[in-house]
């Protein structure tokens, strides 16, 4: 029987009531008394030298309050980078400054040059058109490999080159890996592109800065996945405001997928300008602006080689990747192609030797940073594509080749520095095959063929590392932050609870699922627990929501804080019932004394805590409020097996997804309905990457796909109903809930399944020369692949 409440129940989401009735409170819904509006004049060229900015005419335009340029920010810090990668030779990465408004040069289309603050958004926009810019266009570098050639134009004149870092992992393994390749019975090589994507949360970014001169306090309302991180970065590194004078509020957040982790120039600008003009300043991005100012994702070009012995055991893996950083280092950009990518190259397999080389490159494009999966989709795609190609070259079943090389004993220390705590990759593969009726595929393919279509089946495994992350470990790896999470549980006198968490929901339903956990632990109704998040003024310092970490890390903090509450409540109950503390049991919201019929209700104890008339005051403080900070001692490792069945129209190259199945192991599950929804959304983003989406730059650095007219977002008729299953559960061994995280899996595991399926379909159609097609698999690309010589 499915549970109807608490941990394991598909509790309906409480936040839906406001979202379904138009009563959500997103950042753009906030309007402050006397607010002004800012419009950013952005570079329309990819690379240029600023010779002059004449704002005199614009300043005379109606409603203009003040126009800011880079000069106004000369004494202000630039946007900081939160992760320093050390290169193969032990040197720190090249880390250029990232000004709030351009200083001297513009480096990508969308780089902000001027900020016009006016009485209305329309007036600010109109005035921006009257600014006279004298910008000398410089040659731009867009292609990563061209950017690191001698003589390439430099994105940052003060750097030695456009190479941010050349990273080797594990450098000490390099010779042994090369030797294994020399001794291999078979080597499969694949060159591929993991194309650049725009995250495209449906809510564009918004920032509202406010300043209270009476108390010298600044407040920023912003579309953020992690308000505390923004407060620390902006306060300490950009504007020099101590945390106690700075409040950051992220109310309801309309999707993020990584793009709302980072600290952006517009946030710092609005906070700065509100103080400068002594009025609130609001910025709302248009979608067109989002395409050229939100950090983008992926953008790797990779050569991967897999070595196998005569029995088809994987013996070594070697990769060389170029990773695009864009024009500046976004907050966590350097970590994505390195520690979130290289550490996952073992996949689900016991490959003993691995060497990963990553060259991170500056180009005149929008900065790139974490986007749903962040490094792990890139790792999974390479690995699962090269294994499929190897199976094809060797004439063996791709599922059997995977199974033969699966890690089966846990804990398992990979050769790329992580230790998988639990997993059962055969179990998820078994479940997947049961879901997809693989035996019936040939008959289905014959039926497609009779209709003139080519049917293909693609299967792959995946693993990811999430529950990010052990602070001491990431500190060694270059993180300039800890990655614990926090929770304060405040019990009110009449028994209701408020849980203040450093995690923040941007669609994940924490208000529901977090309440399920706490209510379950105490045995009370979920409605008695309220979740508070998104405001630095009323939540403990926390690192926010990304990397599928909220339940695994934030939930663990909440469990620890609730355990402290229960421990104290038991002391109070023991006093009230004149019993020994060790004999007190808590069940269904009632405290009992073991072996007796004595009991006190939850509400009696909470009332006693705040009205301590009959209370052990000499031993115990009144009140019932506890805080816990939880720092995980390992990542978590969700894993699974995915399958996609496609039909290709050989006349047009159009791919139709007929079915998609996902068998995931997320460990324990708190709310199955929400978990399914997370997988669905991830699958659509993965299918979008595989078939539709692409940030296409021309050679001058213009983003050609900069609106929904050109950037092919997955629509309802591009995707099927998905079959998802998470009944295979190997609980995480090192967090109290045994949970692994589910937010990114769908986007990580699905692109290779789609591409494997299309390649399979083409082979079945006689196009046996097609070993790979780069994403997105548009009809044009598929048709070209079929017809290339």
């Amino acid at each position: 029987m499915p549970k109807d409440h608490g941990i394991g129940a598909s509790s309906k989401r409480r936040e839906d009531l406001r979202f379904l009735t138009g009563r959500g409170r997103y950042t753009d819904d906030i309007n402050l008394m006397g607010q002004a509006y800012v419009h950013f004049l952005r570079s329309d060229m990819a690379h240029g030298k600023i010779n002059g900015i004449d704002t005199s005419e614009a300043e005379k335009m109606p409603g203009v309050i003040r126009i800011f340029t880079g000069k106004d920010f000369e004494g202000v810090g630039g946007l900081p980078c939160g992760w320093q990668v050390t290169d193969r030779h032990g040197n720190p990465m090249q880390e250029p400054p990232h000004p709030i408004l351009a200083q001297g040069k513009v480096r990508h289309v969308g780089d902000p040059i001027c900020a016009v603050v006016a009485e209305s958004a329309a007036q600010a926009r109109s005035a921006a058109e009257a600014i006279m810019l004298d910008i000398e266009e410089l040659p731009a570098v867009i292609d990563m490999k061209a950017a690191v050639q001698d003589g390439a134009p430099k994105v940052h004149d003060e750097l030695d080159s456009n190479l941010c870092y050349d990273w080797g992992f594990v450098e000490e393994n390099k010779d042994a890996v090369n030797k294994a390749f020399e001794e291999a019975a078979h080597v499969t090589t694949l060159e591929l592109v993991n194309q650049r994507l725009a995250p495209n949360a449906m809510e564009p970014r918004v920032a509202v800065g406010d300043y209270a001169p009476g108390t010298d306090e600044s407040t920023l309302y912003t579309t953020s996945q992690n308000p505390h991180v923004i407060r620390l970065l902006m306060g300490a590194f950009v504007l020099g405001i101590p945390e106690h004078k700075l409040r950051v509020v992220a109310p309801d957040v309309g999707g993020g997928f990584g793009s709302k982790i980072f600290h952006y120039a517009e946030e710092a600008f609005c906070t700065f300008a509100a103080k400068a003009i002594q009025r609130p300043v609001k910025w709302t991005a248009s979608r067109s602006e989002a395409f050229i100012s939100d950090a983008q994702g992926r953008d790797h070009v990779t050569k991967i080689e897999l070595a196998l012995d005569a029995d088809n055991n994987f013996t070594a893996l070697r990769t060389e990747t170029y990773a695009n950083m864009g024009a500046y280092l976004s907050t966590f950009a350097p970590s994505v192609p390195t520690w979130l990518h290289g550490t996952l190259m073992a996949g689900n397999y016991k490959t003993p030797l691995i060497y990963v080389n990553v060259k991170a490159v500056f180009t005149n494009t929008v900065p790139v940073d974490a986007y749903r999966g962040a490094g792990r989709p890139e790792a999974t795609f390479q690995l699962e594509r090269v294994i499929d190609k190897a199976a094809r070259e060797l004439g063996v079943d791709p599922v059997e080749l995977r199974r033969q090389n699966f890690v089966t004993e846990f804990p398992y220390a990979t050769p790329v520095a992580v230790e998988y705590d639990t997993g059962d990759y055969h179990a998820t593969m078994d479940k997947l095959l049961e879901m997809i009726d693989r035996d019936g595929f040939e008959a289905r393919a014959a039926e497609s063929k009779a209709r003139g279509k080519l049917r293909g089946l693609g299967i792959n495994s995946y693993i990811e590392a999430c529950g990010i992350a052990p602070s001491a470990l990431v500190g060694q790896l270059g993180a300039r932050a800890g990655l614990y999470e926090s929770a304060t549980v405040r019990v009110n006198a009449t028994g209701g609870l408020v849980v203040m968490t450093g995690s923040h929901s941007h669609g994940q339903g924490h208000e529901t699922s977090f309440a399920q956990v706490v209510a379950d632990m105490i045995g009370i109704d979920e409605g008695m627990v309220e979740i508070v998040h998104g405001d630095t003024a009323n939540t403990p310092m926390g690192m926010g929501t990304y990397g599928s970490r909220s339940l695994a890390v934030g939930g663990s903090a909440m469990v620890r804080a609730t355990e402290k509450i229960i421990a104290k409540a038991k002391k109070i109950a023991a006093h009230l019932m004149e019993a020994a503390e060790g004999d007190i049991e808590l069940k269904d919201g009632e405290f009992t004394v073991a072996g007796t019929d004595k009991s006190v209700a939850w509400g009696d104890v909470t009332l006693a805590a705040y009205v301590p008339h009959n209370y052990p005051l000499e031993e115990l403080e009144p009140g019932l409020e506890e805080t816990a900070f939880y720092d995980p001692n390992n990542f978590t490792y969700p894993a699974g097996a995915y399958a996609c069945e496609v039909e290709v129209d050989p006349d047009t190259g159009k791919v139709e997804i007929l079915s998609f199945a996902a068998a995931d192991d997320f460990g324990n599950i708190v709310n199955p309905m929400i978990v399914d929804g997370q997988v669905h959304g991830g699958l659509a983003q993965g299918i979008g990457q595989a078939l539709l989406e692409n940030c296409a730059y021309d050679e001058d650095g213009q983003l050609l796909s900069a609106s929904y007219m050109d950037y092919a977002m997955p629509r309802a008729d591009d995707v099927p109903f998905y079959a998802v299953d998470h009944s295979c559960q190997t609980p995480c061994t090192h967090n109290p809930l045994g949970v692994k995280g589910c937010g990114e899996a769908g986007a990580i595991g699905s692109p290779p399944a789609v591409v494997n399926a299309v390649v399979d379909a083409l082979h079945r159609g006689g196009h046996s020369h097609v070993m790979h097609i780069d994403m997105p698999l548009t009809p044009h690309r598929v048709w070209q692949a079929m017809h290339q010589a």
Binding site: L20, M202, R715, A723
Partner: protein, 161 residues
């Protein structure tokens, strides 16, 4: 500035707008009815769908002045008179047809318009009708399922919710 008067969710409202003011902007900024969302600037995403004289329209592609005298219905007017969720809204909650909630107002308004014209749409008809509504969170699975359920169809056979 020109005065415009219309009926929104049964109430007569009026305000001063510029010629370029969009209906979506008038609702959000003029009337402070922030349930209607703006997710793009090319009339593609559908977060701003409202009903105008009974038809679904993207309120970012209608000038406020063109709505003079019109009957407009927004997400704020979709609940039952007693405040409880309407059938479509309830189906979205029951089947987890929303996550971040940003596209949701447009999805609900489009779904209502679809079901008015086509009370028992097939899966394919729903997917094609929602071409103009983009959701980035749900992968559409539970939105399609919710709309089928709201139309009284049995969705028990559709994989996991």
């Amino acid at each position: 500035m020109t005065q415009v008067t219309m009926t929104v969710n049964g109430k007569t409202v009026s305000g001063d707008v510029e010629g370029r003011t969009l209906l979506a902007e008038f609702l959000r900024e003029g009337l402070k009815m922030t349930g209607t969302h703006i997710g793009c600037d090319t009339s593609q995403c559908g977060a701003c769908v409202v009903h105008m004289n009974g038809e679904a329209v993207k309120s970012c592609s209608v000038l406020a002045l063109d709505a003079e005298g019109a009957e407009v219905k927004t997400i704020e007017g979709m609940a039952n008179p007693d405040g409880s969720l309407s059938t479509i809204q309830q189906a979205f909650q029951d089947h987890h047809g929303l996550q971040c909630g940003f596209c949701t107002p447009g999805m609900v308004m489009s779904a209502a318009a679809l079901l008015k014209d086509n009370p028992k749409p097939t899966e394919r008809e729903i997917r094609e009708y929602l071409e103009g509504n983009i959701c980035r969170c749900t992968g559409y699975h539970n939105i399609v399922k919710a709309i089928m359920a709201a139309s009284g169809q049995d969705v028990g056979a559709i994989a996991a919710e």
